[in-house]
């Protein structure tokens, strides 16, 4: 039940591979996000489920029924477009009712559903207006209403919040969650905004380069990224990636030894990933790594400290800085020398080629406290 994609592939006429090979099993009633950077194939996937793009290979099942070659209108799916795509020459009422009229639903039934949906979304007063007279947030609601009124098997949402300003977006995000809890309809949600995906979803498929990189709950993809791509894509600011090279007595990060970490085979290079909130600041001598504070980024409840490692060239991937997240407003100034203690139980270890190391391939020997 739900939505089943097997071996889905899309190659466009110009030869670009939008989706390589996709297998996804989306449970009935689930809020499922396709998350990834632009061009990763997430929208193409959604459009294939909708029937707006024909898959080059593979099959699509919705609630156990194969719909791969079916017309969009026969699939029992409703889509909310990024641009809303409201019919500009029709009133809100006509926009909402068009589908039901096309399905030859009785007029009385249409009226009942109209008032239900209008009430649910608080758009009763807008029914006689045309889309051009509505604000962005109101259009968004109407677009949602047009999907909800149908009571479809699946909602498809293509970045529905990306045209709203920040405050409104947060508000609608909460509302979407409330609606999903109330209606319980399977939802496939496309977004490049990880906050949306993490806050809304039951499960997330992180996509990159036309493939699914990882499927998991928001906690899983955040805590246990399957590869470097996912690790880097999820989290803001991003995860710190440190190159660890073999030296006598174990691995070391640049000039700093990290004897707690054991990998098999022992003489291999790895990349260590650690989230900003899993690093503790200490006295310069007390830390595993050392550096000086270069930049402070307060974001209200927490503060991000950008530390430039001393003698640390080529250690941190990206820009040679390590980001530390402090929850409280600790007294800290730019230029200060600090030590960094890694909470070793929270580190993730990756092969430089990308994939995370299997549990059998690495271990932490002991915890070291400052």
């Amino acid at each position: 039940m739900g939505v089943l994609l097997s071996g889905l592939k899309k190659r466009y006429r110009d030869g670009t591979d939008a989706v390589h090979h996709l297998d996804l099993d989306i449970a009935s009633g689930e809020f499922f996000s396709l998350l990834g950077p632009s061009g990763c194939g997430k929208t193409t996937t959604l459009r294939m489920i909708a029937g707006l793009e024909e898959p080059t290979a593979g099959t699509i099942h919705i609630n156990g029924r194969e719909v791969t070659r079916m017309d969009p209108g026969d699939r029992d799916v409703a889509m909310v477009f990024q641009s809303y795509a409201l019919y500009p020459h029709m009133t809100v009422r006509q926009n909402l009712a068009l589908n039901l009229q096309a399905q030859r639903v009785a007029r009385q039934e249409i009226e009942i559903r109209l008032s239900e949906v209008a009430h649910l979304l608080g758009i009763e007063r807008l029914l006689q207006k045309k889309p051009g007279q509505l604000s962005g947030g109101q259009r968004q609601r109407v677009a949602l209403g047009r999907a909800i009124i149908r009571r479809p098997a699946v909602f498809l949402m293509d970045e529905p919040l990306s045209n709203l300003d920040l405050k409104l977006r947060e508000q609608m995000r909460t509302e979407l969650k409330r609606l999903h809890q109330k209606l319980g309809i399977t939802t496939v949600y496309v977004t490049h905004d990880q906050v949306e995906a993490l806050t809304l979803s039951d499960r997330i498929a992180v996509m990159g380069a036309g493939e699914v990189q990882q499927v998991g709950s928001p906690t899983e993809v955040y805590e246990c990224p399957a590869n470097l791509f996912v690790a880097q894509f999820i989290g803001s600011p991003g995860i710190n990636l440190l190159n660890a090279t073999p030296s006598e007595g174990g691995l070391s990060i640049g000039p700093w030894p990290l004897p707690e970490l054991q990998v098999t085979p022992p003489q291999r290079e790895v990349v260590i990933g650690i989230r900003p909130e899993d690093i503790i600041l200490s006295e310069p001598k007390g830390g595993t790594l050392r550096g000086s504070v270069e930049l402070l980024e307060p974001v209200g409840s927490s503060i991000f400290v950008f530390v430039r490692l001393e003698k640390g060239e080529g250690v941190a991937q990206g820009n040679d800085r390590v980001v530390v997240g402090l929850s409280a407003r600790q007294p800290i100034v730019v230029g200060e020398q600090v030590g960094l203690i890694l909470r070793t139980e929270r580190i993730r270890v990756f092969d430089p080629a990308g994939p995370a190391l299997q549990a059998s391939e690495w271990s932490i020997r002991e915890h070291r406290f400052a």
């Binding site: 409201l86 019919y87 020459h89 045309k130 051009g132 045209n163």
Partner: protein, 273 residues
């Protein structure tokens, strides 16, 4: 302040331009109701004469005006209708189908309109002769459709491209059939384009002289050709000519008047974003 001054200046300029265009029309209208003696007076007479309809009645009695007017009323609306229907269909195909080089094809189609009419009038003559459609209504309709289509296709396509494709996709998902989408979504939104194309085609064919002159002799003669017969080697029949011009003008004014309300801008406002 400066802006308002410019706007005033613009208003004055617009009035002047309108007056410049309306003056000859007014003069002709005046001439059409003046007695012949007043028309031919050495100093122009603008008022103080007794208005007369004699030129209008002469038109109908001497120049078969009702028959000719009927020809126009038959050929022009038919040609316009066919042009607009065909143009909308082909413009839709050119705007929406995944066609390689659709832009170039459209421009190529438009380029037929750059052709001087003189270039094709002889071929048209021979073709119509071959199929025995010279001096026939159908023949003239065909010629006008052929000549009117390119511009209409190009024009309507431009309007269609302004309609976001998502609207049609949304309609598809709403379970509408292709035909319903065309009827309920696309046509209402492309209405301004169709209105402009209708006006252009109608006005062009209504006034067209060259083809009508070359391809009709008697049965299917249209207004512009008949008008030219009022100027012969010896005299210009100013009275009937003016009356005919005014009568030729009226249907066009009516058409433009009724259609221009569809030429509203911003019809797709609120569709996306």
């Amino acid at each position: 302040m400066k802006f308002r001054l410019w706007k005033r200046f613009g208003d004055v300029l617009a009035c002047a331009a309108v007056a410049f265009w309306l003056l000859p029309v007014g003069w002709i209208a005046l001439t059409s109701i003046k007695p012949t003696t007043e028309i031919n007076s050495v100093t122009p007479v603008f008022w103080g004469f007794t208005p007369t309809m004699e030129h209008y009645s002469e038109l109908f009695s001497r120049f078969e005006f009702s028959r000719i007017l009927l020809n126009n009323l038959l050929i022009v609306p038919a040609a316009t209708l066919i042009v607009v229907v065909l143009a909308t269909c082909s413009a839709y195909a050119l705007a929406r189908l995944p066609l390689k080089g659709a832009d170039q094809i459209s421009l190529f189609i438009l380029s037929f309109r750059f052709m001087p009419g003189m270039l094709v009038v002889l071929p048209y003559y021979l073709m119509l002769q071959e199929v025995r459609l010279l001096d026939s209504h159908l023949g003239m309709i065909l010629v006008y459709v052929a000549f009117g289509l390119p511009f209409a296709v190009w024009l309507i396509r431009g309007f269609l491209l302004d309609i976001p494709p998502e609207l049609e996709e949304a309609a598809l998902l709403d379970g509408l059939g292709r035909f319903e989408i065309m009827w309920k979504i696309v046509l209402p939104l492309v209405r301004p384009g169709i209105a402009v194309a209708t006006i252009f085609t109608f006005v062009f064919t209504w006034n067209e002289y060259l083809f009508a002159f070359a391809l009709t002799f008697d049965h299917a003669v249209t207004l512009p050709v008949q008008l030219s017969k009022m100027i012969d080697a010896y005299s210009v029949l100013w009275g009937p000519l003016s009356a005919a011009v005014i009568l030729q003008l009226l249907p066009m004014v009516a058409v433009v008047f009724f259609i221009q309300k569809h030429m509203v801008r911003g019809l797709t406002l609120g569709a996306v974003k």
